[in-house]
Structure formats: structure tokens, C-alpha cells
């Protein structure tokens, strides 16, 4: 019921906003998002963390019975953590929009809340159709947010965003429906009794997630490969992985601040979450086989995206491209397919949402004051806005991956995961060993992937410090007509700002940033609760993927740099 409430309350609030007078819209939106956050927090206290791998707080109501579709909700540790992230960013986005949005206020907040509901729905869904509906439904509010309140090139950005991601996810739906069909035609007699007793719906027409996951594992290798291809077509676009990322910089740059925050904070995580939830456990054999290829895309994205950041002049575009690089790390950890990597990857989802979301907020604050994001026109703002500058440097460092802040933990674990994941460890390929290599896991990535991806850490320092060096440090430079940067200039500018903005950050803006800053610090210094929260779920996923991974490692995956000879590995196993 709690999860249902977390989805319904924003929806109800959206209806209320539509019905209420314009002046109330902001208040209702804030209350609605806060209520969602409170419910998510309460759910976290009710949740039994010792069984965090299990879907809890569940409820299931038959929906279209004939089609096997049900309104089935439930959350495991990973889902709940992401629902919490969604809930946290909600009020922050409402607060951040307070002065930036001056037209069609009711429409804006109503759609924002619908978006919140849809995102929570994606993470809570335990039914494939419900998941898909929520997954796609996030597009409509975001499309409207970008196309109505975006900047100059907003219509192109909105359309590209919608069509690009929508096209991908239709293919993903086809993949999911194929698995459903496969499950429906499954011969129950051929399934071992142990598995049957745990999944009663096996072999029937159902969209239940856990049943389909079990069924998916029984598919043949080639079927799995096709399903993986279909799933990645949808989810990789959303992440976005390297060649299908081009909607992201455009959408990020054109979206209003709150839109960018949600886009970076949660919407991108829908893709990574979906890969974690569906691709990994449903088609483990294909994932194990193609992990090196997918990882290569991640590595290319890290370096390619990072270098592109370095030559941007638009601050927002720079941060947008940095998401391509950052999500490359996240997915690299995921495709390492071991505990370290996947734990890092899920931490990365949360951490990227916090730090990049905050960077977008900060850029939005500057844009509200100077109406430009061009780094050639802005500079040395530390002299004028010390509080803003402090936050900017802080979140930049979180984004760079400075140890002690949140980004480091996840980035290091992702890289370490990739580093470990090689079957050539301890295979004798590197010389004789006195004792087996302690912490290696099967896989086909290995140190080269970590090393090359690790150069992304250097590139991240290059572009982020380039940005900070231009915007925060240096001689003060503000656009013409904003030499003073005073409130008076702002309000006389054009429109009817409700309250003129001070030179430095206002109390509201500090309140907006503070929770993110605190979380960045806490998760950097004491990430343990978060790690514990997701550990059960990660263990389960790794257990599913491990066996095929081992098989592929022994027979030699195509892309492995130095395949261990089968004889040798068998010999090791016999010892």
C-alpha cells in the first residue's frame, strides 16, 4: 500500500493543482512531493532490510485479467533506494522552479508531479506491463516540460528526446513480450520441480517480473542474445550508452532547470535500473557473452564524452556531456558482473543523481541571474557569489570523484569491479603463482578496461576544473547589461519575477542545495548503510550471472584479450 501511495499521492496532487487557483500551485506541489518523500522514508523504515533481496511492501491487484496484466507493486533494496532518490529530488525540483517558472505555473507543477508518480512507478512495478507503462509515461511530462519551458531550441530537443527514447523502448517491449510468450509456451513438465514450486506462474500467460526472469533464464543462448539486443535497444538509449546518447546533451541543455535535474537524477537511472532489473537476470548467458562488447561501448563513452566536455563553451552542455562519461563508469561497473562492480554501479546511480543534479541546479541559478550559460561571458563569480562558488566547487569535486565525497566510492568500485573481472587472473597467464589470486572474478574485462576507463578520471578533472577555472575563478566577468548583477537589473530585465533574486544565493536556494550537499558528504564518508541496503539484491543477481560467466570464460569469449586455454583452467580447477 505504501508504494501505491507513493505513486498516487503525486498524481492526486497533480489533479488538485489543476483544480486549484494558480497561486496555490506551488504550495500544493511542494506538499505533494514532500508527502511522497515522507512516504518513501516511512517505507524504508517498514522495509525489512535483512531480506533486502526480496520484493517487499508488495501488493497485487488484477488489472486486465484476460491479458495476465496486474497492478503488482513491490520493492527490493535497490528499488527502494531509487524511490528514495526520486522522492528526495521532487521537493528540490519544486523549490528550484519557484522563481524560474513564471508562465503557466499550474501546468508546470501538475506535469512535474505526474512525472514524479511515473518514476516511482517504474521502480516499484513488479509487472512488466505496468513497468512499461510507467517507463513510457515519464516521456510525456518531460516532453511537455522541455517543449514549454525550455530554452531557445526546445522544440527540437523535446521531439528528439521523445522519439529517440520512445523508439528504443518499443523494441524493448517487444523483447519483454517475447519472454512472456516464451514463458506461456513453456512446458511445465520439463521444468525442475524445485523451480516450479517457487514460481507457480511459470508456464502460464503472465507478466509477473520474477516469473519472467526465471523463464528467461531457460531460453536458449541465441534467444537470449536477441532478447538482450531488444532490451538494450530500449534501455541503452535511456542510459545513454555511447552511440545512442545524442538526445541527452540536447535535452539537458534545453530543459528547464528542474527538468535537467530530474533527467540527470532519475530518468537516466531508469535505463540503468532496467538493465539491472531485467537484462542481467533475465538473459544472463547473453549478458555474460556480450559484457565485453558492451563494456567497450562504456569505455568509449567515458573517454569520448569526457573529451567532448573539455571543448564546450556552454556550461550546461558540458555537464550534460559529463553525464555520458559518468554513466559509462556506471555501466562499466554493471557489466563487470561481480559484486564490487554492480555495487559500485548502483551507488553510482544514486551518487550521479545527487552531484550532477546539484550541478544543474547551480547552473540554473546562474542562468536565472545572467541569462547566459556561455563560459566566455561568465567568469570569476567567486568574487561576487562566494556561497554559490563554495557549492559549485564542492559539487564539482563530488563529480570529479574526490575521495571523501560520494562520487569516489562508486567510481572506485566500478573500476575495481572491471579490474577484477577477468578469467585470466590466476590462470597462469601471467607467470607462476604461489597461491591463487585472491579476489579475482570470472569475466572478460580485466585491468586494461579499468586502466583505459581510469583515464576518464583524469579527463574528468580536466573538464570539470576547466569549467570551475572559467566560471568560478579568474577575473570577474559578467554579461553586458548585468555588470552589477543586482536584483534591480534582474527584475527590470523583462518579466514579472515574483521576488527579485539577490546577488548571491537566497535562503531558498541554499535550502535547495543543502540536502544534496549533506548527502554527498555522508555517502562519501559513510556509504555503508547504502551498501548494506543493496547488497542482498546484488548478491542474488551476481549468483545468477556467475555460472554462465564461468562457462564463457572457460570456452573463451570472443572479445577476451588473452583467453585462458581450457586445459589449463581445468587443471587449476582440479587442484
Amino acid at each position: 500500500m505504501l508504494l501505491m501511495a507513493a505513486i498516487l499521492i503525486p498524481l492526486v496532487s497533480a489533479v488538485l493543482i489543476a483544480a486549484a487557483p494558480e497561486a496555490r500551485a506551488k504550495t500544493i506541489a511542494l506538499l505533494g512531493t514532500l508527502a511522497q518523500l515522507v512516504i518513501a522514508c516511512y517505507a524504508a523504515t517498514v522495509f525489512d532490510w535483512s531480506f533486502s533481496s526480496r520484493a517487499q511492501l508488495g501488493m497485487s491487484v488484477a488489472w486486465f485479467e484476460g491479458l495476465g496484466v496486474s497492478l503488482s507493486l513491490g520493492a527490493d533494496g535497490v528499488s527502494l533506494v531509487l524511490i528514495l532518490l526520486t522522492g528526495l529530488l521532487g521537493p528540490i525540483c519544486v523549490l528550484a522552479s519557484s522563481t524560474a517558472i513564471t508562465t503557466r505555473i499550474r501546468t508546470y507543477y501538475a506535469w512535474l508531479l505526474v512525472l514524479q508518480a511515473a518514476m516511482a512507478g517504474v521502480f516499484a512495478a513488479r509487472d512488466v506491463i505496468l513497468f512499461y507503462i510507467c517507463f513510457e509515461f515519464t516521456l510525456i511530462p518531460m516532453f511537455i516540460l522541455i517543449s514549454l519551458w525550455g530554452s531557445t531550441n526546445r522544440r527540437k530537443a523535446a521531439i528528439k528526446f521523445f522519439l529517440f527514447t520512445f523508439t528504443g523502448s518499443v523494441v524493448a517491449l517487444a523483447g519483454l513480450v517475447y519472454v512472456t510468450w516464451f514463458n506461456a509456451t513453456l512446458d511445465r513438465g520439463a521444468v525442475p520441480q524445485v523451480i516450479l514450486s517457487q514460481n507457480e506462474l511459470l508456464g502460464t500467460w503472465t507478466f509477473d517480473v520474477s516469473t519472467l526472469i526465471t523463464a528467461g533464464q531457460m531460453m536458449s543462448a541465441s534467444e537470449q542474445a536477441w532478447v538482450l539486443l531488444a532490451l538494450m535497444a530500449g534501455f541503452a538509449v535511456k542510459v545513454p550508452l555511447f552511440p545512442v546518447h545524442t538526445w541527452l546533451p540536447l535535452a539537458h541543455t534545453e530543459a528547464p532547470t528542474a527538468g535537467s535535474v530530474i533527467l540527470a537524477g532519475v530518468l537516466l537511472k531508469l535505463g540503468t535500473y532496467a538493465i539491472y532489473r531485467f537484462a542481467l537476470p533475465m538473459v544472463p548467458e547473453a549478458v555474460a557473452l556480450y559484457a565485453p562488447h558492451l563494456s567497450m561501448l562504456c569505455v568509449v563513452g567515458i573517454i569520448y564524452g569526457g573529451l567532448i566536455c573539455w571543448v564546450q563553451t556552454d556550461v550546461k552542455k558540458l555537464v550534460a556531456y559529463s553525464s555520458v562519461a559518468h554513466l559509462g563508469f556506471c555501466m562499466l561497473g554493471m557489466f563487470a558482473l561481480n559484486n564490487t562492480g554492480i555495487t559500485g554501479s548502483i551507488l553510482y546511480m544514486v551518487n550521479h543523481g545527487l552531484s550532477t543534479g546539484a550541478l544543474f541546479l547551480l547552473i540554473g541559478m546562474i542562468y536565472e541571474r545572467y541569462h547566459t550559460r556561455d563560459m566566455n561571458q561568465l567568469g570569476g563569480l567567486a568574487a561576487k557569489m562566494p556561497v554559490w562558488a563554495t557549492f559549485m566547487v564542492f559539487f564539482t569535486m563530488a563529480s570529479v570523484g574526490l575521495p571523501g565525497l560520494n562520487g569516489f566510492v562508486s567510481e572506485f568500485l566500478c573500476l575495481l569491479g572491471a579490474f577484477q573481472a577477468s578469467s585470466s587472473w590466476g590462470s597462469g597467464a601471467w607467470g607462476s603463482d604461489i597461491e591463487p589470486v585472491a579476489a579475482a572474478t570470472p569475466g572478460a574485462l580485466g585491468p586494461w578496461f579499468a586502466m583505459i576507463a581510469g583515464t576518464g578520471m583524469i579527463i574528468a578533472a580536466m573538464y570539470l576544473l576547466y569549467m570551475v577555472g572559467k566560471v568560478v575563478w579568474g577575473p570577474l566577468k559578467t554579461p553586458h547589461g548585468h555588470a552589477g548583477g543586482h536584483a534591480g537589473h534582474e527584475s527590470s530585465g523583462a518579466d514579472d519575477h515574483p521576488a527579485p533574486l539577490p546577488t548571491d544565493l537566497s535562503g531558498r536556494e541554499i535550502v535547495t542545495l543543502m540536502p544534496l550537499a549533506v548527502l554527498c558528504l555522508v555517502l562519501g564518508v559513510y556509504p555503508k548503510p547504502l551498501m548494506n541496503a543493496i547488497q542482498g539484491s546484488v548478491d542474488q543477481t551476481v549468483a545468477v550471472v556467475r555460472e554462465p560467466l564461468r562457462t564463457h570464460a572457460v570456452t573463451g569469449a570472443p572479445a577476451k584479450p588473452a583467453p585462458a586455454s581450457p586445459a589449463n583452467t581445468h587443471g587449476e580447477g582440479a587442484q
Partner: protein, 770 residues
């Protein structure tokens, strides 16, 4: 020894953190929260000074908070040191504070080895004689330099002052984490943390584009080193399953035994790779070839920062890293020789650059790079105690030298050009600075019986003792002569000789990044902020240099005394002094983690048929079994004895040359006898002054290509990758354009179409029916 480590160290399970601390405390009969407080106090100072900034404190309060906290940390360090590491034998111990990146997972059912894997990297502190020694001089010097800075930075009181001391305290916190970490990940935290503070403090005068650029350069170049360090840490974790030192040394013991037995070919390649990766990190942080270029630029920061971070403490982190993981470095034949060559070449190269510079702070920066090269050589020629001793003595005298330069800079309005300063010592009020400088210079030049003399000798002599490193020894010896020259070039030009000076062009408060000054009122007027350099005119009211006040003088005097007193460390406790005794009991000592555990006594120095590729195998074996080996000689004499005279002679020559060229007969500040000599050397002094164009070379070789590549990528992304997407999007539109004319808009057209369709349908049905 290793057993002792194992006995003492409580390897804690994540669940029982409270118990672990208690246990560790119990073993030593005192609460170990004082150890945690060493780290916590600087952090507290950072938070409090940050609070001062928020409350717009304009007084010197932040400085006093910092000084008090750091003094407290120093006192606690001293207490810990006295309690645990004063005796002849000391035991490392671990203080667990709380869990950080710690989780475990069930191992693969097929895996050999342990059934659960754990990544345990906690906020836990590993105290042994090495880290205690390091913390002593870090906190001690930080306290003194904070006191110095309280006066030095006083022109910036307000937000800038708070910012300075917040970053300063944060630096000490990070350094404490780096040094006292019980695992490599926490060391990495400190490692990057000091990098951040270095970034913030180099860029302290953030309105100067050069300072911003220098800060960025320092951070990025350090990151290159950090990548290697991170890879090294990962490799250690994969190979040994731990990042905690205590467990690591235990797990590495079989390999160490092999090394001791001279059987290097038995050690896996991956284990040998570890030190090669770690040294990359060390080269970045400690400004060695090829990553040294950031350190001279880092002099853009305020001088106390240069003294503490870029001379005394942070830049020695690389030395610390190697000393800490010394057992791993002994496992590879090539790791230490590489370190030796890099150190020696860096020492020589930067000494040659230092000789040709005119900015006294830059000269000191290059001398730091050069001396760091010495320290690396000390470690690499198997004299870790020499290397560490040099770190300690260098910390004192180099901090002293920088602070003296800073006092000059402070008093002479930013003047640092040695051609525009002369006879400073004779100006009233500058006596203490002058004597401080003299003591520092004597130490740096290796003048007999100073601390710098003994620490340098230990390294030089050992280079000749260790077989195969005599070339390194000769390079270092030449460098010692150059060092004496350029050091006294500064002293003779600036501090003695005829009194003549020209004030610099900066005035306190006019140009330094006083970010509190811009209220709403004056913000309009300052739309284009004045850069650092174009603040002329402010000096007009200020013709006289102002002598340093009590805080600066006290600190200089204290440091001068300490630099001299450091000599004493050579004479107390043990063969090579107290520092050597401490190092010997730590991970860097030959006698601790390499202690005998029934290794194959008398095994051949190297296996038959296995060519010795370096001096390491033979010598490690010899050290492990016979202690001192006088394998090498210099001019047929025992290097340890001969070096006292040789290095004194080389130093004296350097000082005399400096005297002859730069003091004798000099009439003005700008010219000296050296000017006459320059044409004879052709273009070489110009190249040296241009820093051998290494920066330009890197720019051409790395930065420019990368920049071009980035632009190409951006073009590809905009036109090719996104172009493809747009093309796919445009294809239906194009197809529609082709079919569109068929839609005439005429009702009858559509009706005819319908009728036609109907006819076709009927025909089909008719055909199918028949």
C-alpha cells in the same frame, strides 16, 4: 617482527567496531581515541573556520582556531609517539574508528581460496614508527606555519582568511589520513585530499589567471599519478585480497621469503607489477620526472602554503608511499632501479633549472624537486633510513627557507627577483630572516655538520655502497655541488652585499582575492576586477619595506633552531641515528617485515641460469642474511667514511663558486660577475632558464593533440553520430514528401479512390471465388 604485527593488530570485523578499538586500546593500556583525535582536530578546525566564513568573522579568530587545533594534534602525536615508539622496539597498532568502504560477498563456489571475499577499507589508523615520525613533523610544522600565516595572511582578513585556514586545516586532516591510514584506500583518500587542498591553496589568489592555471595543472598532473596509484591499489586487492597493510604484509610474506632467498623468477609478474604502478603515483605527488612540472608553478600560492604543502609535507607523500610499501618494492628487480634513475635524473635536471632562475621562490621550488629526487634515490639504493632522514631534515630547512623567502616577499611588496634585491640582512629588522636564511642555505648546501649534510651523506654513501648504483652516486654528487651553488647564489645575491632593493608591485589588500570586499555598493565599480599584476600605484604610498612582526620572527627562529637541532637526530639512538632506528622498525626497515622466518639460509644470491638484471636481487639477499655489505667503494675507501669529506668538499666548491660569481666585488643588485660568464656558455643558460622547455614539449606532445582530438570528437558527435540520428528521423519525412502529392484535397478524388478500391476488391474476390 611480523608475528608481532599480527599479534598486536586487531584485524577488525565490520560488525564489532567498538570492540576493536577497545581491544587495541586495552593492549596498550590507554584509550586510543587520542589517535583518532589527531585526525579529528584539524577537521574540527576546518569546520570551525568554515563557520567563521559563514558568520563573516573579520578578526584573526580563524588563525587562532587553526593554530590551537594543530598544536593539540601535535601534542597528541607527541604523546602517542612517547608512549609507543620511544623504546628500542615498537609494535605497530591499529585504531579502528568506523567502517568506510567495507562489504563482503560469498566467493564463487568454484573458486580456490577463501569462501568469502571482503573489501575492507575503513577509517582506521595504522600507527607504527614510520607514521608516527611522519605525523610528528607534519603536525609540528603545520602548527608553526599556521602561526606564521596568521601574520602573513593578515592583509586578507575576512572571507579569504577563513578560506585559507579552512583549506589549511583540511590539508592537515588529509595528510593525517594519508600517513596514518591502515589501508591503501584511506591513503588514497588522503592522497587526493591533499591534492584538493593543494588545488584550493595554489589557486588562493583566484583572480590571477596564472594562479588558477597553476592550480588546475597541479591537480590534473597529480591525477595522472593517482591513476597509477589507483591501479596499483586494485592490483594489490586482486592479488592479495586486501588493502589493509597488516594483512597485506602477511599475505605478501611468501613472496618476501622468495626475494630474500634470491629466487626472483618465482615471483609472479603481477606481483612485480605492483611497485611499478605505485611508483607512478609517487612520482606524481612528489613531483618527479616526468610529472614534476606542476610543482614550480604551484609557487603561485601563498608562501606558507608553499612551505608546508609544496616543500615540507605533501610532496614527500610519494616517499612515504614507497617507504610504507617498501616490502613490495623489494619484490621486483626493476622497481627500485627505476626509482633510483628517476630520482637521480630529476635531481640533476631540476638543479640545472634552479641555477638559471631569478625568482627566489622558484629556485626554492626547483631545489625541492631536486631534493625529492635525493629522497627517492635514498629509498632506491636500499637506504630507506637515509631517504626518510632526508625527508625529516629537508622538511625543517626547506620550510625555513620558504618562510624566509615569504618574509621577504611579504615585506618587499611581492618582490622575488634576485636581481632587484640585495643586502636584505642589513636592512633594520631583517636580521632574524637573514640568519634563518643562512641556516637554511647551509643545510640545503650540505655544509658540514648541519642536518642536511648528514642526511645527504647517508644517501650518497649508500649509493656507492650498493653495487651497481655508483653512477647514481656520481649524479647525486654533481647535483650536490650544483645545489650548493644555486642555494648560495640566492643568499649572496639577496641577503648580503650592498643594500639595494626595489619594491614589488603588489600592495596588501589591493589585489589579493579579497572576496569579502564586494558588497552591493561597490560591485558596480568593480565590474572588471583588477588582476594581480595591474595593481600599480598602490605601492606609491609605501616606499619602505616593512619588517616581519613577532609571529613570523618567532616561527623563523624556532625553525632555525629545529633545523640545527635535527643534526642531533644523527647522533642519538643507533648506528645511523634516531630516524634510522625508527625506520628500521617500520615497514620500510629491512629487519621488520623481512625478518627471519626460517628462510633458506645460505641460498645462492641468484638462481643459476637466471641473469641478474639489477642490483636488487643480490643485495636484498645479502641484506637479509648478512646485514651491512660493503660491496662498493669510492676511490677504494669505505664510502660511509669517505663521503663525509667528499661531499663537504663538493659543497665547499659550490659555495665558493657562488661567492666568487655573486658576492665578491658586486656593486649593485642587478649585476654580478656571473653576467660576464654567461656568453661563454652559449645558449645553455637560456635553455635552463626556459626550464629546458619541458612545459612547451608537453603542451605540444600531449595537450595540443588532445585538444584537437576533442574538437574532432565534438565534430563527429555533432555531425556524424547525431547526424545519423537526424538522418533516420528525416527519412520518413522524405518518403512522405514523395507520396504527398497524391493527397489532392479534392473530395471527388478520394471518392474515386474509394470506388476504385472497391472495384479492385470485388475483382479479387471474384478471382478467388473462381
Amino acid at each position: 617482527m611480523l608475528n608481532l604485527i599480527q599479534d598486536t593488530i586487531v584485524h577488525t570485523q565490520p560488525e564489532s567496531l567498538g570492540a576493536a578499538v577497545e581491544k587495541a586500546g586495552h593492549a596498550h593500556g590507554q584509550t586510543d581515541w587520542s589517535v583518532a583525535a589527531i585526525v579529528a582536530l584539524p577537521l574540527l578546525a576546518c569546520v570551525l573556520t568554515g563557520l567563521c566564513a559563514a558568520l563573516r568573522v573579520k578578526s584573526k579568530l580563524p588563525a587562532w582556531i587553526t593554530v590551537a587545533s594543530l598544536a593539540g594534534a601535535f601534542a597528541l602525536t607527541l604523546k602517542t609517539f612517547a608512549a609507543h615508539f620511544m623504546g628500542a622496539e615498537s609494535h605497530p597498532f591499529v585504531v579502528h574508528v568506523f567502517d568506510w568502504v567495507t562489504f563482503s560477498w560469498a566467493a564463487d563456489a568454484h573458486a580456490q581460496g577463501p569462501q568469502t571475499n571482503e573489501l575492507a577499507a575503513n577509517f582506521a589508523f595504522y600507527l607504527d614508527s614510520l607514521s608516527a615520525l611522519w605525523m610528528l613533523f607534519v603536525t609540528g610544522l603545520a602548527t608553526l606555519i599556521a602561526l606564521y600565516a596568521s601574520e602573513y595572511m593578515s592583509h586578507d582578513q575576512g572571507a579569504g582568511y577563513c578560506r585559507f585556514f579552512a583549506a589549511f586545516s583540511l590539508f592537515v586532516f588529509s595528510m593525517a589520513c594519508l600517513v596514518m591510514a591502515d589501508n591503501l584506500l584511506l591513503l588514497y583518500l588522503g592522497w587526493e585530499g591533499v591534492g584538493l587542498c593543494s588545488y584550493l591553496l595554489i589557486g588562493y589568489f583566484y583572480k590571477k589567471p596564472s594562479a588558477v592555471a597553476a592550480a588546475k595543472k597541479a591537480f590534473i598532473i597529480n591525477r595522472i599519478g593517482d591513476l597509477f596509484l589507483a591501479m596499483g591499489v586494485m592490483l594489490i586487492f586482486v592479488q592479495f585480497g586486501t588493502v589493509e597493510y597488516s594483512v597485506l604484509f602477511e599475505k605478501a610474506r611468501p613472496y618476501i621469503e622468495l626475494a630474500r632467498a634470491g629466487q626472483f623468477s618465482q615471483i609472479p609478474f603481477l606481483v612485480k607489477l605492483i611497485p611499478c604502478l605505485l611508483m607512478g603515483g609517487a612520482f606524481g605527488k612528489s613531483a618527479q620526472l616526468p610529472l614534476y612540472v606542476w610543482l614550480p608553478d604551484a609557487m603561485e600560492g601563498p608562501t606558507p602554503v608553499s612551505a608546508l604543502i609544496h616543500a615540507a609535507t605533501m610532496v614527500t607523500a610519494g616517499v612515504f608511499l614507497i617507504a610504507r610499501t617498501y616490502p613490495l618494492f623489494l619484490l621486483s628487480e626493476i622497481a627500485l632501479p627505476v626509482v633510483a634513475w628517476v630520482g637521480a635524473l630529476t635531481a640533476l635536471l631540476s638543479a640545472t633549472i634552479g641555477m638559471a632562475q631569478f625568482d627566489i621562490k622558484r629556485i626554492m621550488a626547483y631545489s625541492t624537486v631536486s631534493q625529492l629526487g635525493y629522497m627517492f634515490c635514498g629509498l632506491a639504493v636500499l637506504s630507506p633510513s637515509g631517504g626518510v632522514f632526508h625527508v625529516v631534515t629537508h622538511a625543517f630547512f626547506k620550510a625555513l627557507l620558504f618562510l624566509c623567502c615569504g618574509a621577504v616577499m611579504h615585506g618587499f611588496a611581492g618582490q622575488l627577483d634576485l636581481r632587484k634585491l640585495s643586502g636584505v640582512m642589513k636592512v633594520p629588522g631583517w636580521r632574524i630572516v637573514g640568519f634563518g636564511m643562512l641556516i637554511g642555505c647551509l643545510n640545503l648546501a650540505g655544509f658540514p655538520l648541519t642536518a642536511g649534510y648528514f642526511s645527504k651523506d647517508m644517501i650518497l654513501a649508500e649509493a656507492f655502497v650498493t653495487p651497481g648504483t655508483a653512477v647514481i652516486g656520481w649524479i647525486l654528487l654533481i647535483t650536490a655541488g650544483l645545489t650548493a651553488y644555486y642555494t648560495f647564489r640566492v643568499f649572496f645575491r639577496v641577503f648580503v652585499g650592498p643594500v639595494a632593493y626595489e619594491l614589488g608591485d603588489e600592495h596588501h589588500g589591493a589585489d589579493h582575492g579579497h572576496d569579502d570586499g564586494h558588497g552591493h555598493g561597490d560591485a558596480h565599480g568593480h565590474a572588471q576586477a583588477k588582476g594581480h599584476a595591474d595593481a600599480h600605484g598602490h605601492g606609491g604610498t609605501h616606499h619602505e619595506p616593512h619588517a616581519p612582526g613577532w609571529a613570523i620572527n618567532t616561527v623563523l627562529a624556532t625553525l632555525a633552531v629545529l633545523s640545527l637541532a635535527a643534526t642531533g637526530l644523527y647522533f642519538v639512538g643507533g648506528d645511523h641515528g634516531a630516524v634510522a632506528g625508527l625506520v628500521d622498525q617500520s615497514s620500510a626497515g629491512f629487519h621488520s617485515p623481512l625478518a627471519h622466518h626460517g628462510a633458506a639460509e645460505g641460498a645462492p644470491a641468484h638462481e643459476a641460469g637466471h641473469a641478474v638484471v639489477s642490483y636488487v636481487p643480490e643485495f636484498v639477499h645479502a641484506r637479509a642474511h648478512g646485514g651491512e655489505v660493503h660491496a662498493g667503494t669510492i676511490f677504494g675507501a669505505d664510502p660511509h667514511k669517505a663521503m663525509y669529506f667528499i661531499s663537504a668538499g663538493v659543497g665547499a666548491v659550490g659555495i665558493f663558486v657562488a661567492f666568487w660569481l655573486h658576492l665578491a666585488g658586486r656593486k649593485s643588485a642587478a649585476t654580478s660577475r656571473a653576467d660576464a660568464l654567461l656568453p661563454a656558455l652559449g645558449p645553455i643558460p637560456g635553455w635552463a632558464q626556459g626550464k629546458w622547455y619541458v612545459d612547451e614539449f608537453y603542451d605540444f606532445l600531449v595537450r595540443k593533440p588532445l585538444w584537437v582530438l576533442s574538437h574532432i570528437f565534438y565534430l563527429i558527435d555533432s555531425y556524424l553520430v547525431d547526424g545519423l540520428v537526424d538522418f533516420i528521423g528525416a527519412a520518413p519525412r522524405a518518403a512522405g514528401k514523395v507520396i504527398r502529392p497524391s493527397q489532392s484535397g479534392e473530395l471527388h478524388g478520394y471518392a474515386l479512390g474509394m470506388a476504385g478500391g472497391l472495384v479492385i476488391l470485388i475483382v479479387i474476390v471474384a478471382l478467388v471465388a473462381t
